[in-house]
Symmetry: C2
Subunit: 338 residues, 2 copies
Amino acid sequence: MHETPHIPTLDDVAKAAGVSTATVSRCLNEKQKVSAKTLAKVMETVESLGYTPNFNARAMAAKQSRTIGAIIPTMENAIFARGLQAFQEKLLEKGYNLLVSSSAYQPKLEAQQIRELVARGADGLLLIGYERDEAVYEYLARRGIPTVLAWASMPGSEHASVGFDNRAAMRLLADKVIEMGHRRIAVISGIVDGNDRAAERLAGIQDSWQAHGFHLNDLPIIQTPYEIENGATAFEQLVQADVKPTVIMCGNDVLAAGVISKARDLGFNVPNDISVTGFDDIELAKHVFPALTTVHVPHRQMGRVAAESLIELIEHRVKKVSHQLDVSIEMRASLQRI
Amino acid sequence: MHETPHIPTLDDVAKAAGVSTATVSRCLNEKQKVSAKTLAKVMETVESLGYTPNFNARAMAAKQSRTIGAIIPTMENAIFARGLQAFQEKLLEKGYNLLVSSSAYQPKLEAQQIRELVARGADGLLLIGYERDEAVYEYLARRGIPTVLAWASMPGSEHASVGFDNRAAMRLLADKVIEMGHRRIAVISGIVDGNDRAAERLAGIQDSWQAHGFHLNDLPIIQTPYEIENGATAFEQLVQADVKPTVIMCGNDVLAAGVISKARDLGFNVPNDISVTGFDDIELAKHVFPALTTVHVPHRQMGRVAAESLIELIEHRVKKVSHQLDVSIEMRASLQRI
DNA sequence: ATTGTAAATGTAAGCGCTTGCCATATCCCC
DNA sequence: GGGGATATGGCAAGCGCTTACATTTACAAT
């Protein structure tokens, strides 16, 4: 498209300003070490030459990139959007940049992307959940890459984390459901294999179910990837059972939205004929009809705290941090007393 | 957290394998230039040392990063998710990596992120829409960075683009709406300032409106950022007017979802009392109730074609590419004949 | 054997920046 | 005005890799 038309470098700026490259570098990075006069002169030439520092060269020489990497399971739905947004805002505020990849819920891909981000010189990493191959953690430890795990919490774990107790939260919701008279619960869970959050949420329902004296065999469960369409499909299957459930508890709001949509198509009145619950409290939750009873997760807070913790780890080499945030049950119209 | 425990470099591998760094580099990048025996030996040491190439060093020495950058206005909703996903898939297939930033619909931020990505050594860029400061295009041209603009199309423009005609598409939908008997249309548009897609969509409605002999003064318009909540709020305002609209045409599906939700809260029956239309055909569109009449955009195709075009630009230094994709009107229950 | 050619490998010069260390300027006080 | 403390600025050595060019090796043909 173009014959690369010389791109200005530090050297060019130095020559043009009549100083050494060291001085230009200082003007860019440690202004206080430079006299006001020199600074002004240098900045002016930087401006006039349209100079932009080469990031790779900088990262290489400084052995730090002020970049942190995040790998989330998916960008296709809003689950992680708000939290990540807050994470990024806090990062920018502290002078860091964010690099995001999505692993499509595939551990192999995630491992690969971790290496990729590390190879790119990420100073730290944000990962979702804790369930991954031990080799990955070893790799991270060997390279000395500070890492924070979010969206889950592992009391007693050796890893830094910022999250909440998925299991306890879902159990709380299930308790509520049973309290409201429901005795025929069906579950649409995310795929639990390789996804600790999904697994824990499911376990939370099971905890409650058993604690109330019911048998696990009487708790129908469908596992399916977190997509709105899958919620719809799973619902269709569940209501074909001999014993119709009175409530569908979903692994997250996206599945629940699919359920509500399909239920209406099939002529069910939610919540009169059947109740539905979700998890996450994404924005959509209060805009579906009927509004979704769900577990409210403090996404923005989680993002902010994760950013602060990670920076702490990077800059002060703190041993470890662990924050468990509180969640709450958001009662809305989709869940009704039976 | 750790005393950085020596990270293996190319040199380490070379020494351990008893060859030169050049040979190791060749084993990693141009296998065919190396004898099978050497290759095997080197790869083995790479493996045993757990060596990962340093990306920054590589990009610097090779003057190319096999990375391409994309800046989208927002990650908070699903508008760009599917297209970007397809874009990335095609990129990976061709051996490129993707770096994504979001500009929050702020031109200043976008300009900054463009510089950031270029500084990081991006070989090419994907940008959304065409409306941006001329200085940005000049910068890109000066650095010789191949760039593809997507989600919009500019016949006759000098820039490479892959998109569709927002204006014509929306006009088509508006024609349909008017054909169905609607004479009192209200519009909830995205913020048109700095957003050519939003501006063109709005213009499309206005085109149709005037072509049918109506006066622009009789077309109420609210501009608001693309958020579900904002659609709800805007709707509330619009129905307070003396002359109630019979249809609300929204700048995208997210706004429309907010409208549908709020309409129900206020006791309106959609579409009997009032019709609603969207734009984009995101997954949600067919899962709200009633299902949304909208403009179907071939997001995945757009992503794929954009990736191919960009790579073409980068590798073959083709002069320019421009693809205009077809969109279609997706008629669903939210729009009713009056 | 000798030579020619191509394939395989090595040598070393950067890529654009940061930073430890050293050399000046600058300034203040006596 | 001299001595020393301190603020500035320069020098040059890398950071880990690629690659043009030089050198060596392998092998076939003479």
